[in-house]
């Protein structure tokens, strides 16, 4: 018996809302949205966790400028280090290199992190998802059953993929709370974003951050009703 599966529920029982930021394609802005959304909610006094699940291309620690030179502290489990108020858990604390992991190994790593990370009480735990609908997606759907925010760009390729994934998620009985068009009508292309990467202070002042007001308010509104 895999004991990790029996403790995961305990580890997230203090979390009010679990939100996976996903979308079929890579490079559409999932990590940027997940990171800045977490930052905005935290800066507005909410208790927020951010779990980076893209083991082959971890980025939130770079976006938020987190110090990954030391291991997270431990106290009967792993305490996710705080960055600008956000509890951030990422494979980046443990590896600075490419992680050549097969799907079954990604699956195992995710279960391991979920089993040992002590999130405590959170209003929101935001999951930064990798592209695709493979192991990480299937495991998250099964183990955590989160709500989804889907990110697309205005391109045909991205829209086609996100549409398919939305159907899949809904067929699996899970909820898509919003589909956000990045680099387009919902979040505009922000030429200052790249310079703000690495600084939580600068990030909060970007147009990108302002363009996330609507979804931030939507998430805050619904917190007590779900």
């Amino acid at each position: 018996m895999d004991p990790r599966l029996d403790i995961i529920g305990e580890r997230i029982k203090g979390v009010k809302r679990l939100i996976a930021v996903a979308g079929g394609k890579g490079g559409v802005g999932k990590s940027s949205v997940a990171s800045v959304l977490a930052l905005k909610l935290a800066s507005q006094g909410r208790a927020v966790g951010l779990l980076d699940l893209d083991f082959c291309g971890p980025t939130p620690h770079l976006i938020l400028g987190a110090d990954t030179s030391e291991f997270p502290k431990e106290d009967k489990g792993v305490i996710p280090p705080k960055v600008a108020g956000i509890k951030l858990m990422s494979v980046a604390y443990y590896s600075k290199e490419a992680n050549p992991l097969r799907g079954s190994e990604l699956s195992n790593s995710i279960k391991e992190l979920l089993a040992v990370t002590l999130w405590g009480k959170l209003d929101y735990l935001i999951l930064d998802m990798p592209p695709g609908t493979s192991d990480t997606f299937l495991d998250v759907a099964k183990l955590l059953k989160p709500e989804f925010i889907l990110i697309t760009t205005p391109s045909k390729l991205s829209k086609a993929t996100v549409e398919k994934n939305k159907n899949l998620i809904e067929e699996m009985g899970l909820k898509v709370v919003a589909t956000i068009e990045n680099l387009g009508k919902d979040i505009r292309t922000d030429s200052s974003f790249e310079q703000a990467v690495g600084s939580t202070k600068l990030l909060l002042n970007t147009q990108f951050s302002a363009d996330l007001n609507k979804i931030t308010e939507q998430l805050k509104r619904n917190l007590n009703t779900t």
Binding site: P3, I7, G77, S95, R102, N108
Partner: protein
Amino acid sequence: MHEWALAQSVIFTALKQRPKSRLKITIALGELQQVDEEIFRLGLKEFAKLEKLKATFSIKRVPAKLRCNNCNKEWLFSKGELSEREAESIHFVPELAHTYIGCPQCGSPDFTVVEGRGVWVEKIEVE
């Protein structure tokens, strides 16, 4: 000590299976994860007490057998060549062995952990 978190998960598995009995729990500790057995045992004892579970624990250590998917070479994990930091990373996420270790024959990071990965509950018996 994240060994406590691992120990707690074992207690939760036991509670789920047979909450009311006096149990004998057999646990395999795969060497890849390099679990500190003493702290782990302490964690088991403390969490069992906390959850009012009556249990004894039998722990066996399982060498980590790795097999290369590229050239089929089999070998046993040892943290010999690893830095302190790398070994500790594997302690937290055993799969990171693929990041820090290559096949001793062909160098490939594409290998399978055949056995001895981490914490596994082998048996829960009523005593």
